[in-house]
């Protein structure tokens, strides 16, 4: 009973049937894709499990082929693994097939790595300004710092690549430092961090003060007041709106259409006033009362980089499988002619 089940699991014919079915399912599925790009267009933006739960399940009749292919490939992987174990048991008489069977086990590892990564990985985006440090999504205690950012421009001045100097920190310990650009990601424990896009956003404003000349106020700037207190910048908003009651609140938009600074006046560490200075209007009375005059002269922009943070726990396993496949392919091709000369041909089923 067990022997016949084992023979069936190792069967060459089963492998061919499963490979043929997986091929046919993939062909049929891939022909559905072009007509439903609203559904399939986001497949590369997230791991398969996430795509399925957020997008794929909305149209099960169009995405069922992915499950079918996954099942057929899992069965093919099982068959391939059984063939490899069967070969290991007979390695003394079949050692000439080492290359071919390394290819088999490599394929199994790549499949396992892909299934693992697809079921428990994630793909997120991180926006970092130069000098900023932020926690990596999904990895507590891991931080990323953008030390510097530049673009590589072509002869017409058009940016063609993004050069990010990144430092990866675990706690406060720097564990990786790398110049990340196209084809050069920062990798660490299944994480891959790549440049995605870039831009600049409003960081603050330059003001003319009269006595001190020009000063720069950005988020968290502190300005000493003439009467002993201090002025703190809480927030810089590129766009604010005033509602019916006259209260100011930030609105959507990144262009400084109606910019404002949320400020706080402190005396002996106690807040005495907190409010908005809408730059297109006259300064708020508490500011004038505190003896400070601020005339806005221009915006301050800072570069930010948009980074892709991909976590694939199966990637190291898939890489090991890839190395095995590569070794297997090279051994198989080097030994092919020798084996053919010896007439070493497997049993014909």
């Amino acid at each position: 009973m067990f022997n016949s089940l084992w023979s069936w699991l190792c069967s060459l014919k089963v492998a061919i049937v499963l490979a043929s079915l997986a091929t046919s399912t993939l062909i049929a599925g891939s022909l559905i894709m072009p007509g439903h790009m609203d559904l399939f267009g986001s497949m590369d933006q997230m791991p398969l499990h996430q795509w399925w739960s957020s997008v794929g399940r909305q149209a099960p009749h169009l995405t069922r082929w992915i499950w079918a292919t996954g099942l057929l490939l899992a069965l093919l992987g099982l068959n391939t693994l059984c063939c490899f174990i069967d070969w290991l048991q007979r390695i003394r008489s079949r050692w000439r097939k080492t290359g071919e069977y390394l290819l088999h086990i490599g394929f199994v590892l790549v499949l396992c790595g892909y299934f693992w990564g697809s079921s428990s990985g994630y793909r997120e985006k991180m926006r970092l300004a130069v000098g900023e440090t932020a926690g990596v999504v999904g990895r507590s205690g891991v931080f990323l710092r953008l030390d510097d950012f530049n673009t590589l421009d072509d002869a017409n001045g058009r940016p063609i690549d993004m050069l990010n100097s990144l430092t990866l920190l675990v706690g406060d310990q720097a564990v990786r430092q790398k110049a990340v650009h196209t084809n050069h990601p920062l990798t660490y424990g299944g994480l891959a961090i790549l440049p995605l896009s870039f831009g600049s956003d409003l960081a603050g404003f330059r003001f003319f003060t009269g006595e001190d000349g020009e000063i720069e106020l950005t988020e968290r700037s502190v300005l000493p007041l003439p009467n002993g207190g201090s002025l703190r910048v809480l927030q810089v908003a590129p766009m604010v709106i005033r509602d019916r009651s006259g209260a100011v609140r930030p609105s959507f938009g990144t262009r400084p259409a109606n910019p404002a600074l949320e400020l706080e006046i402190l005396y002996e560490n106690a807040s005495v006033w907190r409010g908005w200075y809408v730059l297109q209007e006259s300064p708020p009375f508490p500011l004038i009362q505190a003896g400070i005059r601020l005339w806005p002269t221009g915006p301050i922009y800072r570069n930010y980089s948009l980074l892709a943070v991909h976590y694939d726990p199966g990637a190291p396993l898939a890489a090991a499988g890839g190395v095995m496949m590569l070794t297997g392919v090279l051994i198989a091709v080097c030994s092919y002619y020798g084996k053919r000369r010896l007439g070493d041909r497997p049993e014909i089923t």
């Binding site: 060459l12 993939l26 890839g322 014909i348 089923t349």
Partner: protein, 268 residues
Amino acid sequence: MSLLLDTHLYLCLAFGLYLFACVFYLRAWRRQSDSALRAAQWLVGFGFAIHTISLALRCWKAGYLPVTNLFSTLFFFSWALAATYLYYEIRYRLHASGLFVMFLNLLLLAGTLMSRDPLRPLIPALDTPLFTWHVAFSFLGYAQFAMAFSLAVLYLAQRRLGSERLPTPTDLRKLNEESIFLGFVFFSLCMLIGSLWAYRAWGYYFSWNIKGIWSFVVWLFYAGMCHAKFVKRWQGSGYAILSIAGFGIVLFTYLGIGLLLSSNHPLG
């Protein structure tokens, strides 16, 4: 001097030599002439040498292996097919079988003669040796699959004709198996290097774009074929038919997706 560096001129010359080789192969086939056969083989050899000079000049001018668009990949595919054919011809003496392969090669090369492709600097995503090796192994694999297709057609023809000018069906079957195996080896290298490149460029090693899926289909199909040769029922005509069907999948992956569908794969 500029004429000597004109890659298009060399390409036209190679096309002419391949065309004459086809004429001589046809003559050798019809009149059973050994001298015509030898002339055809020499013409293919000279044509390949000129073709190689043209490719080397394009590499030298561009600073990279130019395989970034349909024109340049047709050019490289044709070169790889000629190299593959010469390998089989020198090693196994295919004789008049060359007519069919060289005719296929002429079709590929004719596509490149239609236009002149200006060499542009590589965009950063493609400016990596991984890209060059990925595409080179891909087309070396395609060339072997094209060879397998030609041998399969000849196998089916030979079983009907029983011509003395062609290798025996057994030899054609073995050559077909060899070209499928070598094609699978090259294509596996292409897939492995492509996966590594994709991981470094986009952070994932398998992309669900149509070209990615069909490339996996090609790999899986030929992996199945490497096993099918051990199944008695699939040997001979069955295997030849599979080789023909497999080349259909290859052609769709290479040309069909780019021309009929859209894909976000870097090469369409």
